[in-house]
Symmetry: C3
Subunit: 266 residues, 3 copies
């Protein structure tokens, strides 16, 4: 595959407005800065009319919703739709509680998303298939992840990126598998959340008609960066991997990522 958007991010530093959870806010900001994008974190309802108007993308991550966060997400999402910038949904742990299901249902009915990014358990919950989800972690189950990604993409009319050992990306018609990665990804908190933000940055510099390619590029770049970061590490060096992943997000060139990419059209 050929990379189109990585260099554009590094040249134009798109501003990514993130309404994200308190666990990963710092790591997400550092990851976006390493990549070459600019993070802006605000969940204040009073700012939701202005910020999407000067941002290039919006990320809504429901990991630790509290107070007026859900309202802020709705307001920011609608405003981002008006402004024509891409909106990414990360439905963290959506299968875990009825509150999360309700918020996600409301977001999905009132905001147009360019992308939903989640793990197998979360995408399965959106597919309303039987899936053994365990809290906010990925869980494991019998459903076919490829089918789940495609089904949810059709159901909500957007792209779906299902993260796991293989990432499956579908727009309801096309289905692409990204086979890069490392078992260290699920050993650190926020590796999925950061991928959602990275996708937002790629979408933020892409043309609307090319959003699918931008998502595939984002997932491939991220998985290749993690794979490279892990190459010299033991499987237990989880702390070191956190740091090394940031370094790779900053260091990896488009050419290196292209050479590393193991992507399949299904």
């Amino acid at each position: 595959m050929q990379f189109k958007y990585l260099n554009l991010i590094r040249e134009t530093n798109p501003l990514v407005h993130c309404i994200t959870n308190i666990v990963v806010a710092n790591y997400t900001a550092n990851g976006l800065l390493a990549l070459g994008a600019s993070p802006l974190m605000s969940a204040n309802v009073a700012e939701m009319d202005e910020i999407p108007a000067f941002s290039q993308a919006l990320l809504l991550n429901i990991g630790t919703l509290n107070g007026t966060d859900a309202e802020a997400m709705l307001a920011a999402g609608k405003r981002a739709n008006q402004a024509g910038i891409p909106v990414v949904l990360d439905p963290v742990g959506v299968g875990a509680t009825s509150y999360r299901k309700n918020v996600v249902n409301r977001l999905l009915s009132e905001v147009r998303f360019a992308l939903i990014r989640g793990n197998a358990g979360e995408i399965a919950a959106l597919a309303e298939r039987d899936w053994q989800a365990k809290g906010v972690d990925a869980g494991s189950g019998a459903a076919d992840m490829r089918e789940a990604a495609k089904f949810v993409a059709q159901k909500y009319g957007c792209i779906v990126a299902l993260s796991g050992e293989t990432d499956w990306i579908s727009d309801g018609a096309r289905l692409v598998g990204v086979h890069n990665g490392t078992p260290l990804f699920p050993r650190i908190t926020g590796s999925g959340c950061l991928l959602g933000a990275v996708c937002a940055a790629f979408l933020g510099v892409a043309d609307k008609r090319d959003y699918f390619a931008a998502c595939v590029e984002a997932c491939t770049f991220y998985a290749a960066a993690g794979e490279t970061a892990a190459e010299t590490l033991l499987p237990t060096q989880t702390g070191t991997f956190s740091t090394a992943l940031l370094d790779q997000l900053a260091a990896m060139t488009a050419q290196q990522a292209e050479e590393k990419a193991r992507v399949s059209d299904e």
Copy 2:
């Protein structure tokens, strides 16, 4: 001593529901993942009825209480008691303000705790002894820490783990000292908070009648991991120690921890 629970955590990945402070949420989540447990962070009152029902342990850390956090803690604590899962209290800076004292008093009167984990200043504040506490840091004072741990354990009918150069663990009758550790622990934020979460994970896989042994194992494992992480570091490498501690929490085996353990029955 012989380790019973570390491998069980790594085999069963207990889900630890943490209501904790914004400063350490990320480090706590990464520490639990490194150890082999699964973190779930939520302080949303609307989720407090469901989450304890599918969690293996609950941690209540009052470090940056705000909004409806105290209500969420009360609701989650009561629900966890109903569900029969262990609840850990980390009374961060309880001696510092009357608000913290009031919240902790209410938690202690309405929720049954398996463990209170704190530093010398915090345990002394609960003992209502004279103790020179300084903000949320440990402070120093004349009171006998061993006596304070035992006294607070008797007063509240639970285990107390008092963290410091030596960790003192008491259930009101027994008293054990864990002499492992490193001066780098108090040089990073959240090293005590993470220990509280690690204790919750150990309690989450233990039988109720064996909670005391599980706490001693948790404190010993954590102190030994920190000691090992610090072995090749200068006393000023505080940033590097943060990362190295996570690596050790993932790498250290039960056998290594047993060999390293310096534990005394008092």
Copy 3:
């Protein structure tokens, strides 16, 4: 230049009360601990009467204001003024939204600040000059940063530290340039926010009549620590730099910083 306050911080461990944003709370706490100060993070209105009374300095950082944070800042700021401890304002992204402008205006009219620390875009917004600010990042523009620092210092009757490739520090009459630093600073989140907290620690151990020298020392120490941390790193090692900066904040001696310092009286 000769350092007066660094050793005093390490000897007396001043307690710095931080009301800061959720993105940098952890890094700020770790940075203050590395330096030798003690962080206390609380934005709970119910604690704002007590905490400033036993703190040595107060930091107000508006990066992710939400809920009752602005009220807490006003209450803490007024109480800190009563208690006679220095208050530092970090007006993160003040040019980005009208909400931030309003909060900052209210803070500036009701609280006496010892120091305002911001990047070029933020200080320019306070100067009400035309300046191309982009979200919460520094942006770039034509205005003279030295003049902006001096003008804002005069306008608000306090010290201003404008952070950038060169840091400009002015009390309205004097103007000092700190020429140390590294391009890695803006590649990690919270490097400016942490500097605000570091300045608060230096002010917390200084005599009121010597606040200007304390700010210059703080900015010089911080920039020199970053410069040293970056010396062996590639420009893309952003994650490693985060960690190395903490190590240097703990390791660098007054003598090393003095030798490294490139400070100009303008």
